[in-house]
Symmetry: C2
Subunit: 284 residues, 2 copies
């Protein structure tokens, strides 16, 4: 299998640098092919701007979306963007590895997303109609591939628990996992988060590797997060709100993950409705 | 009053550029003093790295936090970082204005946060003890100042409603409003979000200005979001989980905003407890 690791830390001798090396070794040792986009080493350009199109329309008002689309269609995207898109197309699995800075990814990684996720590549794909609102949230050019976050955090795990002051880690990561990875089609595996990184000595690092190693060994068998596909019937289109009969009375990020018993429930509901219908027809 | 607008859009002739100009004009016309950090125009450096310390320790392993602390304490921070910190100290109110790109801020603005929010300035402030876990989440160097987000989004407002596919806008913005603004002490006003920006013609822009103008006219009187202060008794320390008797049985970002009736409820609870105590004393 082909694995792309997109890695964002400024210091190779950091905990993150060691984790990145471990990931590469573990995967290569298991026979996989690994490419690393080491954004700091590559001096990745973070700011999306008109120079991302090698052939911009001179004097025109710069529109981030339309310019991105034009460059993508005309084959005039900046070379660094094209290279990263090709790595994404090559990969079977993509790992984004980063320290959590201010409850999100470092700027250099956000700039990778902003620039590589071109119109026509990661969004603006597919038709818009009354039943299909673009190939996104479960469909798209990256469908069939897997993705996983490997994240380090300085704080304690309790600070990221459901009632922790930072908010639940799954909610903090939702805009990335759902909005950046599931959006263009990735199956998103549960994240691997390493807490309290300031306290990791050699013994603790061995444990970090052991636990992360298990995740890497099961990359192809771990069940993805059950995010709901946009165009598979769960959402009203074009409002894109969850249908009222699903997760009734609930709101928030959590409702976009389907409940394991839901299929059974909705099959049951269909059966009841059919039975009601038959009853209605019989008594008509 | 002094207002700092931190603005992140690559095209001055964009909707965001027009909104930024409107904000400046409206505030100056009302007699306020405005500074704008136009990050694209400033060619703001996004990536936090060893060069952010003008006097780095040669050959040392770069630690983002400790290096930031050292540079802050020794007065050797990069000049661009110092300038932005001085603007923050000068401001009574800070507005972050940006287009929502991939459910977060553009990389260049995240890089402003990553670099300007130094250790000793925006975090790592205050003592840690059994009752006080640093001056943060409601305390800190920026306490007493106000902050507000002005955000544009291409999607429909229904996509950002409580049951919309993107997740509720308040949850998408929570890591910024709570994790970046409330953390170093800002009082955070409700965000001003402008949706479906691709469809804004001259008539719609007049309406945009009218609504935003009302928010700007009431910057100093609008009630902030009632985020709970970390060290005021609502959290168990050091776990930093919300005390079990508050928002009982609930979880997620929403529990970190106190309920308007809660003070009355807890006063009531105290009264009941006192009454129990008096009763216990009377019957002893």
């Amino acid at each position: 299998m082909n694995v792309l690791v997109v890695y964002a830390h400024p210091e190779p001798r950091s905990l993150n640098g060691s984790i990145k090396n471990f990931i590469v070794q573990r995967l290569e040792h298991a026979g996989h092919t690994v490419q690393v986009s080491d954004l700091y080493a590559m001096q990745w350009k973070s700011a999306l701007d008109p120079q991302d199109n090698r052939s911009p329309t001179l004097g025109a008002r710069f529109d981030p979306s339309l310019d991105s689309q034009q460059a993508f269609v005309n084959g005039t995207q900046s070379i660094d963007i094209e290279q990263e898109q090709n790595k994404l197309l090559w990969a079977d699995t993509v790992i984004l590895q980063f320290p959590l800075w201010w409850y999100s990814m470092p700027a250099i990684l956000k700039g990778w997303v902003d620039r590589v996720y071109a119109y026509g590549f990661a969004y603006g794909v597919g038709e818009h109609s009354d039943t299909h609102w673009g190939d996104r949230f479960g469909e798209g050019l990256l469908a069939g591939k897997r993705a996983m976050l490997v994240v380090t955090a300085g704080g304690w795990s309790s600070h990221y628990e459901p009632r922790g002051i930072n908010g639940p880690i799954n909610d903090i990561l939702f805009p990335i996992q759902h909005g950046i990875l599931f959006y263009p089609g990735f199956d998103v595996l549960p994240p691997h988060v390493i807490y309290r990184t300031g306290k990791i000595d050699a013994a603790a690092f061995a444990k970090v590797c052991d636990e992360l190693g298990q995740r890497l060994d099961t990359l192809w068998t771990t069940a993805p997060i059950a995010f709901r596909k946009q165009n598979a019937g769960d959402y009203c289109i074009p409002q894109l709100t969850l249908r009222p009969e699903l997760a009734q009375g609930e709101a928030g990020f959590g409702i976009h993950v389907s409940h394991p018993d839901e299929n059974k429930l909705s099959q049951h509901r269909v059966t009841v409705e059919q039975s009601d219908l038959m009853h209605a027809e019989q008594t008509r």
